[in-house]
Symmetry: C2
Subunit: 89 residues, 2 copies
């Protein structure tokens, strides 16, 4: 096992593909936000966030590792979801 000196925070966002409907987001928008009077909100999409701490040498390695892990372990369903991976800070 190799020693890796930095800990990076990586965010994974899993959400329905843009063309797919999102019943959870629609419900929050229609039955909560619009009924609450916040008409400035024109769209809501719901998703899942995973925040991971990852030990690697560089931010790029952290991002690549997490991307690989998400595909490899089927953290999301590529037929239905988009998966975004970002290194924070």
């Amino acid at each position: 096992m190799q020693m890796s000196p930095h800990s990076y925070t990586v965010e994974v966002i899993v959400e329905n593909k843009p063309l797919a409907r999102d019943p959870e987001g629609e419900t929050i928008q229609n039955n909560l936000i619009l009924k609450g009077g916040y008409k400035q909100v024109t769209n809501v999409r719901a998703g899942k966030l995973l925040r991971m701490s990852v030990n690697t040498d560089t931010p790029d390695q952290a991002r690549d590792l997490v991307k690989k892990l998400c595909d490899d372990l089927r953290i999301y369903n590529p037929a239905a979801h988009d998966c975004q991976v970002r290194v924070i800070g």
Copy 2:
């Protein structure tokens, strides 16, 4: 109703408070990621993401509106959760 010329994307992240346990994140880390051999991942926290499109004049107004909405409509439970609001792009 006043016309607002800009549409801003605002992300809302709801997650358990840092001192509270997060069974979902722990399960993903222990039973999926570590068993999959990704030992560089030292921590996983799970949360909910809402991405909203908001019509306001400025990004600050968009953020303030969404913060108010989250408190007002009880989008999260302030006793158990942290709620982060960010304007994107």
